[in-house]
Subunit: 371 residues, 2 copies
Amino acid sequence: MGRKRLQESADGRPTVHTVAARAGVSIASASRVLNGVGGSPETIRKVRAAAAEVGYVPNAIARSLQSQRTGLVALAVEDIGNPVYVAMMRAIEAVVASSGRQLVVHATGGRIDNEMTLLRRLANRYVDGMIISPIRVTDDHLGALAGSPVPVVVIGQLGADAPVDNVRTDSRRGVALAVDHLLATGRRRIGFVNGPLDTVPGAARDAGFRAALARHGIHLDEDLVEVGDFQYAAGRAAALRLLARASPDALVCANDLIAVGALHALLAAGRRVPEDVALVGMDDTELAQMMFPQLSSVSLGSAERGRRAAELLLQRIADPTLPPRREQVPPSLAVRASSGTTLPAARPSADPLDGPTAPTPTHPSSEGVTA
Amino acid sequence: MGRKRLQESADGRPTVHTVAARAGVSIASASRVLNGVGGSPETIRKVRAAAAEVGYVPNAIARSLQSQRTGLVALAVEDIGNPVYVAMMRAIEAVVASSGRQLVVHATGGRIDNEMTLLRRLANRYVDGMIISPIRVTDDHLGALAGSPVPVVVIGQLGADAPVDNVRTDSRRGVALAVDHLLATGRRRIGFVNGPLDTVPGAARDAGFRAALARHGIHLDEDLVEVGDFQYAAGRAAALRLLARASPDALVCANDLIAVGALHALLAAGRRVPEDVALVGMDDTELAQMMFPQLSSVSLGSAERGRRAAELLLQRIADPTLPPRREQVPPSLAVRASSGTTLPAARPSADPLDGPTAPTPTHPSSEGVTA
DNA sequence: TTGTAGGCGTTATCAC
DNA sequence: GTGATAACGCCTACAA
């Protein structure tokens, strides 16, 4: 049953009751003053004084129970070590914080069961909403997303008719940008180091690569294609395998982590970049510009996608009856030193090798593995 | 006053009342069964069935109000883009998750006011505890830390008598390891690229550098010392400034981000690494091994510090009366290609310069900017 | 303006 | 084992 109502909380800290008693008013009055609604000048003075004296701080949990909102927003991504997600996270954080909320970050490791667990946990209302960027999507996913009791926004490709707020890019076109650029600068044997084909981005990029070559009437030598996962080590290993059996004059990598791994493999193998092999990554993360030579990379607008996803989420939290929306962020290519040379005859004149040329990305930051 | 108690929550979702009514038992019985304590076989069956039928999921907030704990733990670091914090975060996450809790990550930007705000917000009980890794410490800080209403563990150097759980390393000794190594391999003009001197790690590393040289009786040419902040761009710029006015044969950098920036500057300036200039970073993050050449780096045990901090925090949450504890994680040096050559006459015989020599770090992963 | 009295959804205590 | 019922700390109709 519990003791009769005391004036302080279980752990001895002041509550509205403490303040009210000290100020000699009812808890209702105290609460009103504390929330800045109503109260006579005298009451306000007394309550404020009392609150200050006892060091009153409202209990967020009790407030949440009453208001039915926690002020927390969740973000679920595969790998917080991937700079592309750091960029996304920062953009989301900025929007979320401006609404007075906080971000809870989850790393799923790309595992569907982890994501399903998170989705299920949403039902207990520990957050007001969630942004999730799955790299694999199943029917279970779609079911859980559509039936979620709290607002969810998905960053990444989703079935065309999924009734879920969704922000995507077109990574197929992104790969095409890279291929077109390399062909335009004289490369002919373009290799591709991809992530797993059973992931949404992996499949899309594979399709994009093949379509781009086909569009140019170029036959694809399968020896020039390698698959690993979206990590540095896998990219390095995959590039080594590829180099062992083929002689590419350019490499497109499915994300920057892979590209950095490939760069390491190339340099360790004594290949010059870009003279011998040009290199283009994807996501245009901070990492790309840290390398030497700096990496050309396809921006998939990860920061922008994060920003928009956060905005969609906040809107839906404010009005859950909104119809599902879908937004698309176009890819763009940042050309840097790793591919900044035209093969046959280099023309360094009007085309400084350092710094982006082509459609300069709006943000100097990073981009996504998604889509 | 509000409507009489209904059977479902405000937003139409099932509550214990819904389940109880459906099962034809009291909410007390329903709650008991739901929590797996007590209940006759028949009652258990009915309640479980009812819960399943209506899709009951307990409300985390209500539960928190009752239990006085949120199941959330906060981590406040300067910059989530720094791989050292990613490593720390992962280690902390693992421990925290194993206790059934979740991690809320805050980026403070190293700004004291942000940290103070977080510390103050702790009073409203939105998390059960917090791990903070401040790079600047003020008296206000210490006051807030000591007087915190919820458990706090600090990663990083703190005044010797601060009554706060604390996990630290010895970055002074860490710098000494780097300097000793470089001197042992024949380097004589060792430069130092540091972070801000008004930060705890910045000050400690500066002192460590000077002390190490002094110990070897070497006069420090101030032209060989540069300061920026703990970021890539600053490191690159600082290294460029340093190169413009001095000719180091080795560079020690206060963290890996700076070291990567310095590497870029060196290579862009046409210096060979390690032949012309050896390079050693600090924190031993993933980044160090991604570079070409791979970077030697002083491990400050960031993952280990994170793990220990999390354990201390969980212990204190379980028993707030524990006396303040202090733990120390020793630094170690991982020697890699960027410093793996003895200058005057290479002697690969009994002292293999490639691959980690010194105390090999247990984890292949990353480490900290702190201390 | 002010105070009274629920109620947010849960758990726990206490009698039966 | 079970069922009322009182909290957890806060907010807010409603009545005064």
